[in-house]
């Protein structure tokens, strides 16, 4: 119940945040040199068409009315029109957002299943030969991974695992050339393929995801790993851990209790990284030609195709704000102290 109230308050806070985001994207359009209608239709469109669109977009009206008209279009899911692709931006997004989310989703899943347990193991004191070896390896990893450019790492993996070893498919997109995409249900190829029993497509989609997912989790898992390890180390050195040991609680329980304390900042970091990645995975998408939303935006920028850029910026910002909301809620759920110190 308490958390319900908190969620409600945060949701209310979301409204002005979203409005502010829409204002910034709106201003962004004004900042672009040239007439937005002309920009949207492209340099080759006839003058009459541009005039027509100007009226439609209410660009002949005063600025506040223009903004309200813009907002109205957004609420109706109208992100405008891409003159380069000759397509509706919202349907482009419907195709590409799942591609990016699939990459981020699996990447973060790997972080959750590999990096976090690794952080917990290597934060604990003592341990056998294996643990000590892991500590050595992960120490180097923590130092290096954050400094490696993701696009370069992607290329390197392609060279090793595709060019040399032939273990994985090359950077040819989300599916093999001869494979037809599964029926569109969620837009996630792996899930859609499973749902429709299309195992051929599933194998291909999964194989094409391996290298991008490894790249993403290797580079962007590093800060999460480091955060998890340092908070876990601190938790394990704390009084309450010594005390729990002193009371003879089993090892796994001591670790679990320590992790509960160590996890809130890690959750925040997780959220921050996933919020960043919707736009930040763009270089990985480009290298592997995954046709995600970031790559879409990059192409749009290089062709001055303005509607997709605007839509992308908006979607990414909204996604980030939503992720932070979820993170806040989780944090609230984990840590009772937040409830107390939260000011009214």
């Amino acid at each position: 119940m308490q958390i319900g109230l908190y969620a409600l308050r945060r949701l209310l806070l979301l409204v002005p945040q979203l409005l502010l985001i829409s204002i910034v994207t709106f201003i962004l359009i004004r900042m672009l040199p040239g007439d937005p209608a002309r920009l949207q239709l492209g340099p080759l469109a006839p003058k009459a068409g541009v005039e027509e669109l100007r009226r439609q977009l209410k660009l002949d009206q005063p600025i506040p009315i223009q903004y309200i008209a813009y907002l109205e279009r957004l609420i109706h899911g109208d992100f405008g029109h891409s003159w380069v692709n000759q397509s509706n931006v919202s349907s482009d997004l419907a195709l590409r957002v799942p591609a990016t989310l699939e990459l981020i989703g699996y990447g973060l899943l790997v972080v959750l299943l590999v990096h976090i347990p690794l952080a917990i193991i290597t934060a604990a004191r003592g341990g056998g030969i294996v643990t000590r070896l892991l500590k050595r390896l992960t120490f180097g990893y923590g130092l290096l991974a954050g400094a490696l450019p993701d696009f370069w790492l992607g290329l390197l993996l392609i060279f090793i695992f595709f060019v040399r070893l032939h273990w994985t498919p090359g950077p040819e997109g989300r599916l093999g050339v001869a494979v037809t995409p599964p029926t569109h249900i969620t837009g996630f190829y792996t899930i859609d393929a499973l749902l429709t029993g299309n195992f051929n497509a599933f194998r291909s989609a999964a194989a094409h995801l391996v290298l991008p997912v490894v790249t993403l989790s290797f580079v962007y898992g590093a800060p999460i790993y480091k955060m998890a390890r340092s908070t876990m180390t601190a938790a394990l050195r704390s009084d309450y851990t010594t005390y729990a040991e002193g009371l003879g609680l089993p090892r796994w329980r001591v670790l679990w209790y320590a992790w509960r304390n160590a996890s809130p900042p890690v959750v925040v970091m997780f959220g921050v990284i996933s919020g960043y990645l919707l736009g930040g995975a763009v270089l990985i998408e480009t290298v592997f030609d995954l046709n995600g939303i970031g790559q879409y935006a990059v192409q749009a920028i290089t062709t001055s195709d303005y509607a997709p850029i605007q839509a992308f910026v908006l979607v990414a910002a909204v996604f980030t704000v939503l992720v932070y909301l979820v993170v806040d809620l989780i944090h609230y759920g984990i840590d009772p102290r937040v409830r107390r110190t939260r000011k009214a």
Binding site: D239, Y240, E245, G246, L247, G248, L249, Y257, R260
Partner: protein, 274 residues
């Protein structure tokens, strides 16, 4: 004195690494059934290291270099991690300073208590909670059902200390190691907590090691006193004898400092009355 429960035989603890500075040197101590021994000394005398050594919870940069700790005759050096874990809580139970920071801030009192209870005993969730509530009542917490739902930050210092005493007594251990059990508490609360602890310990025939800076506590509750300085026990004697005719200069200094403050009342120690 009967067969000792806890024996320290010339225990030396050093830092690991090159420097090898000894933090505990040649410390020997014996605790029989029902004994209450006080360990006093200034900050840095090695009291907390002593506690950690007995509990086998030395931080990573310290190690037991020489000597042994025996519990009911068993050398703790010969035990593995799992066996030590079994001893903790059942035979040896800690009460550590600043109870509020000892309790995991994200765990409700009830969750912590039932976790400790169910580590050693197979009891259902409901029964565990009832036992926990009953134990809270024993340590003088009124309204135990509500306190079980509380988080540590919602407790007062005295209340948290009582919870820790309850946790220590959970499996009726034979030795209780209390490190500064009342540091940071109001004087009146100190008294209540210590009286409670002394009573409960006596009722269960447990032995107790009280580590403190406060000679007042020692005078009231301990039968024997060990005075520590620089990692060594410089003097050990029955409480009355120590207060009446201190032998070591450091003991005299400590006593002088305390008498000036007028803290020590020369009443008969509880342990002696028992």
């Amino acid at each position: 004195m009967s067969q000792p429960i806890l024996q320290l035989e010339s225990v030396t603890v050093e830092t690991t690494g090159d420097s090898r500075a000894p933090l505990l040197e040649d410390v020997s101590l014996e605790l029989g059934v029902g004994d209450v021994i006080g360990v006093v000394g200034e900050a840095g005398a090695g009291k907390t290291v002593l506690v950690r050594t007995v509990l086998r919870l030395l931080p990573e940069n310290l190690r037991l270099a020489r000597g042994r700790v025996r519990l009911k005759g068993t050398d703790l050096n010969t035990l593995g991690e799992a066996e030590l874990r079994r001893l903790r809580g059942t035979e040896l139970a800690p009460i550590l300073p600043d109870a509020k920071s000892q309790l995991n801030p994200l765990l409700r009192v009830g969750d912590m208590m039932t976790a400790v209870l169910r580590t050693r005993e197979k009891v259902g969730g409901k029964e565990a909670r009832e036992r926990a509530a009953a134990l809270l009542q024993t340590v003088g917490i009124t309204d135990p059902a509500r306190r079980l739902e509380a988080y540590p930050h919602e407790l007062s210092g005295g209340m948290a200390q009582r919870v820790c005493i309850a946790l220590a007594l959970m499996h009726s251990p034979s030795v209780i190691i209390a490190d500064e059990p009342t540091a940071g508490l109001d004087v009146t609360v100190q008294r209540q907590v210590l009286d409670l602890m002394a009573g409960l310990v006596r009722a269960r025939d447990a032995a107790q090691l009280i580590v403190t800076r406060d000679l007042g506590i020692v005078a009231h509750y301990c039968g024997r006193v060990a005075v520590m300085q620089g990692g060594r026990i410089v003097e050990m004697a029955p409480t009355i004898q120590l207060f009446d005719s201190p032998q070591h200069p450091h003991t005299r200094e400590l006593l002088k400092a305390v008498r000036r403050k007028g803290v020590v009342h020369r009443s008969q120690p509880v342990a002696e009355r028992a």
